[in-house]
């Protein structure tokens, strides 16, 4: 266990999230293979002839063929290659996209690939801009001019060195032959477009804030870390596991049950609000509808969890429990949930009221749990903690899950709601109606208002079902006498 604090300074040697670069390197090398790679040729650009220029269409076709993908995907992949600087466009050099036509591209020299360990520093960029300035004043783009001025201010202490380097490189460049010089200039320009993009454009090399872990360094593990890991492995080995056939079977069963409820796989009735701009689907499935839809009622039968999570289903379940005079189990479960997820300050008060209502001997809504669990719970309540009711809550939940839930599904209450449930007709909007819908999208009710309504209803229900205080009633009757 290590808690990291200060942000480590690894200088500029660390390149995070470069897992994809190794694969990209391999692919680009393959693309340049003289026999099976992308077909290139000499092209005339302005006055000079550029060797090994390739068209966007050829690159896209090669990627399509190699990776067996659609043209659209191949174009996306090509764009990534350009964005990362493996390939650069010759004509519109500032737009880093792959066009699936006859626009020309060239492969970048491996020296400038992003997978190289060195990171382009500001001083390198300053040297590059200074060199271009020496060659021909006024050749810098506006954003480059801004950068140049900024660097001049920022790196003023090094400026003599920078100018000296720039002059050296300029002179060395003049000694090369024209074709080589043009090629190198293009490559260098492409490199800096990728690494120092103009304002308001995206750079593929931007990866966000650096992660603290350095994958290049082997972490030293201490003896207490090994101990903790061993403790973990021991309990993991002893944990009971289920056979694959059983657990995979359960996953398939889940998918099959919910298939018709998944809007991506089966049509949404009456219609998917996002497709038709009509929110009937949401209105029909609101929290407090009188009559739920058939799909919703069907979902309640999938598991007790579904029934309880859908508050409308929980209401229906409560009606059934009231008829059976066994509402205290669910009431206890709800109260325990509120304790678990409530604020830390409200805990002791809640624990006390739960004890008085559900667990104390002779309590008005006494729940029937086994002696051992009762003993543990009552003892734990002496120093209440948010998980003190875990054992009792689990017991009660399992009772409801294994017995009450199945009786509910067979009960007249459920059968009645199944019969009453709505089966909305599918919408069939004409294009004109769809436009109309798009203009009149309803705002719905704000969740804060719904929440307030819900809280009011809860308070009303709690007051109505509060156990009758016999002593108070008796004393009232006495006083009347």
């Amino acid at each position: 266990m290590t808690i990291r604090t200060a942000r480590p300074n690894r200088g500029q040697r660390f390149r995070p999230r470069t897992h994809c670069l190794k694969k990209l390197d391999a692919i680009v090398v393959e693309m340049q293979d003289p026999k099976n790679g992308v077909k290139g040729s000499e092209q005339k650009l302005n006055v000079t002839t550029i060797p090994h220029a390739i068209t966007g269409a050829n690159i896209t076709a090669w990627i399509c063929n190699k990776m067996k993908t659609s043209t659209e995907e191949a174009q996306v992949f090509g764009t990534m290659l350009v964005a990362y600087g493996y390939i650069y466009p010759l004509q519109n050099h500032r737009k880093l996209v792959m066009c699936n036509d006859s626009s020309l591209y060239r492969f970048q020299t491996p020296y400038f690939w992003p997978s190289q360990q060195w990171v382009p520093e500001d001083s390198d960029y300053a040297i590059y801009l200074a060199k271009r300035n020496i060659r021909k004043k006024g050749m810098l783009e506006p954003y480059e001019q801004v950068d140049y001025n900024h660097l001049h201010e920022w790196l003023n202490h090094k400026w003599d060195f920078i100018v000296m380097q720039a002059t050296e490189q300029y002179k060395a460049g003049r000694d090369r032959n024209k074709a080589d010089r043009v090629v190198f200039d293009c490559q260098e320009r492409a490199f800096w477009i990728v690494n120092r993009p103009p304002r308001r454009t995206h750079s593929a090399l931007d990866v966000g804030p650096e992660r603290l872990i350095n994958p290049n360094v082997e972490e030293k593990i201490t003896f207490d870390q090994y101990r903790r890991v061993n403790i973990f492995y021991q309990q993991a080995i002893m944990r009971s596991k289920v056979k694959s056939s059983v657990s995979l079977g359960a996953l398939v069963k889940y998918i099959t049950s919910y298939k018709n409820h998944d809007a991506f796989l089966a049509p949404c009735l009456p219609s998917n609000p996002w497709e038709t701009d009509h929110d009937a689907y949401w209105t029909l499935n609101m929290r407090r509808v009188d009559v739920p839809t058939k799909m919703r009622v069907e979902r309640w039968s999938f598991s007790l969890f579904e029934l309880l999570t859908d508050l409308r289903g929980r209401d229906d379940f409560k009606i059934f429990l009231k008829k059976e005079f066994s509402g205290e189990n669910l009431a206890f479960w709800e109260a325990a949930e509120e304790l678990k997820w409530g604020t830390a300050s409200s805990m002791s008060a809640k624990a006390e009221s739960i004890f008085k209502t559900f667990l104390a001997p002779g309590a008005p809504r006494w729940i029937n749990i086994d002696g051992r669990t009762m003993g543990l719970t009552v003892k734990g309540l002496e120093h209440p903690h948010r998980y003190v009711l875990e054992a009792a809550q689990t017991h009660v939940f399992m009772l409801m899950k294994k017995d009450t839930f199945f009786r509910y599904l067979k009960s007249p209450t459920y059968k009645e709601i199944q019969k009453k449930a709505l089966s909305p007709e599918a919408h069939n909007f004409s294009p004109a109606q769809l436009e109309e819908n798009a203009r009149n999208r309803s705002a719905g009710i704000h969740p804060i208002i719904l929440w307030q309504q819900e809280e009011e209803e809860k308070a009303k229900a709690a007051a109505a079902s509060a156990p009758v205080d016999v002593k108070a009633v008796m004393s009232k009757i006495d006083r009347k006498k």
């Binding site: 266990m1 990291r4 604090t5 942000r7 897992h19 994809c20 990209l24 692919i27 067996k68 993908t69 996306v76 764009t79 995206h202 966000g208 992660r211 603290l212 872990i213 994958p215 201490t222 003896f223 090994y226 101990r227 061993n230 973990f232 492995y233 309990q235 993991a236 080995i237 002893m238 289920v242 694959s244 056939s245 059983v246 995979l248 996953l251 398939v252 889940y254 998918i255 049950s257 919910y258 809007a263 991506f264 796989l265 609000p273 929110d279 949401w282 499935n285 007790l304 309880l308 997820w341 409530g342 830390a344 998980y387 003190v388 689990t394 999208r441 309803s442 705002a443 719905g444 804060i448």
Partner: protein, 395 residues
């Protein structure tokens, strides 16, 4: 639902110090005991005993790891693709962009749906958190945080608040209001305090508790009202990048994924790490539970998404393709769990058939990497947030 955590004893007197507290279920020489987290720490940090050396502990660790793999292998009686053969294929999907939410001036880093199925909150690199009604494209609230790179945001279950955090090492809760002109930033409350950036946050079943993951390698559970740390989770050896709460009736576990290539499952009550999966080859960017709570998926920089079965305790599927080279940053399941949506750094969203392991479809449209994909609570739409400053709703 994971029966194991459901039935285990997690609160009571510790076998070592007798204090009543949340318990970790561990084994000392194959004997099951229940210790509180403090006693477990004491046991781990004890000085080296006679005959114990760093090398011997390391060897024991490797042996135990092998034994765990053996145990997992014993129950491996059928492969996922065998089971999937009997299931019919998914029909062709045609998802279109239904809404484009423009309004952020910078990269959108995170988003979360509200339980009302139409509102969502999104956060961006310039510190802005916006609450949208995605159906009508209204921007309902805008909150400006004093920090940049707000990497985590979450909508409260009641719909009355949002939580957000990032490079400020904090996670704050902002209560929303019906008054559109109110300055919400004034009522912002700092809840979580970490020693490094906050990478993910999520409310539990109520507005009162917040679960956060951080670059400092830990996850933590906080009480919103008081800002008190209720439980901390140690076990990752690198930045924790993502977390997700189990959608089960008990709601007692959550999974976290980090830069140490591990996905760990934790018991929220005791802070114990109960399961761990280490099969990715690079940082895990996102983890998400399967709708039934019995499995989860993870997305990683190694360009694969993997599917882990929690009851059988092993990896059952790897979703990868030769043409997918760029890391996956986010995953989510459709409502039935049949489809898996993964957002990648090459600006695309891939849709996988969870059972058969094949790619069903690919979505184009964003102009920069996808930071988050989330299916709406009723499964009717998919929202994707991207570094191209926009969010898209697909249906």
């Amino acid at each position: 639902m994971c029966d194991q955590t459901f039935m285990a004893a997690t609160f009571g007197p510790c076998d070592s110090c007798s204090k009543a507290s949340p318990l970790m279920n561990i084994y000392i020489k194959s004997e099951a005991i229940n210790y509180c987290s403090f006693c477990v720490e004491m046991m781990a940090c004890q000085g080296l005993q006679k005959g114990e050396t760093l090398a011997s502990l390391k060897k024991e660790s490797e042996n135990l790891k092998k034994k765990l793999e053996e145990e997992r292998g014993k129950l491996n009686d059928v492969e996922r693709n065998q089971v999937a053969e009997k299931v019919e294929a998914v029909a062709a999907l045609s998802l279109k962009t239904r809404r484009v939410l423009k309004g952020h001036g910078n990269k959108v880093l995170c988003m979360d749906w509200c339980k009302d199925k139409r509102r969502l909150v999104s956060s961006s690199q310039d510190g802005k958190v916006i609450v949208w009604d995605a159906f009508t494209l209204n921007k309902e609230h805008g909150i400006t945080l004093p920090c940049t790179w707000v990497m985590a945001c979450a909508y409260a279950p009641s719909g009355c608040a949002v939580a957000c955090g990032g490079l400020d090492n904090k996670c704050s809760v902002v209560p929303l209001s019906l008054d559109r002109t109110e300055n919400l930033a004034a009522k912002k409350k700092s809840v979580a305090m970490h020693t490094n950036y906050v990478s993910g946050c999520s409310f539990t079943n109520s507005d009162m508790q917040l679960l956060t993951s951080s670059g400092d390698g830990t996850c933590a559970l906080w009480d919103v009202e008081s800002g008190q740390l209720l439980q901390s989770f140690h076990g990752h050896t690198a930045d924790v990048l993502s977390l997700d709460l189990a959608p089960s009736e008990t709601g007692n576990t959550f999974v976290s994924g980090g830069c140490d290539m591990k996905a760990n499952v934790w018991d929220m009550r005791s802070g114990q790490n109960i399961q761990s999966f280490e099969s990715h080859e690079s940082d895990i960017n996102c983890v998400k539970y399967y709708p039934s709570g019995d499995a989860f998926a993870s997305a990683s920089d190694d360009a694969t998404c993997r599917f882990y079965d929690l009851r059988a305790d092993r990896e059952v599927a790897v979703y990868q393709k030769d043409s997918i080279i760029f890391g996956a940053s986010s995953v989510d399941f459709s409502l039935s769990g049949r489809l898996l949506f993964s957002g990648h750094n090459d600006y695309t969203i891939n849709i996988w058939d969870v059972l058969k392991g094949t790619r069903v479809s690919i979505l184009f449209g964003h102009e920069n990497r996808i930071s988050r994909v989330r299916v709406s609570p009723d499964g009717t739409a998919l929202c994707s947030a991207s570094w191209d400053n926009s969010l898209r709703i697909w249906a």
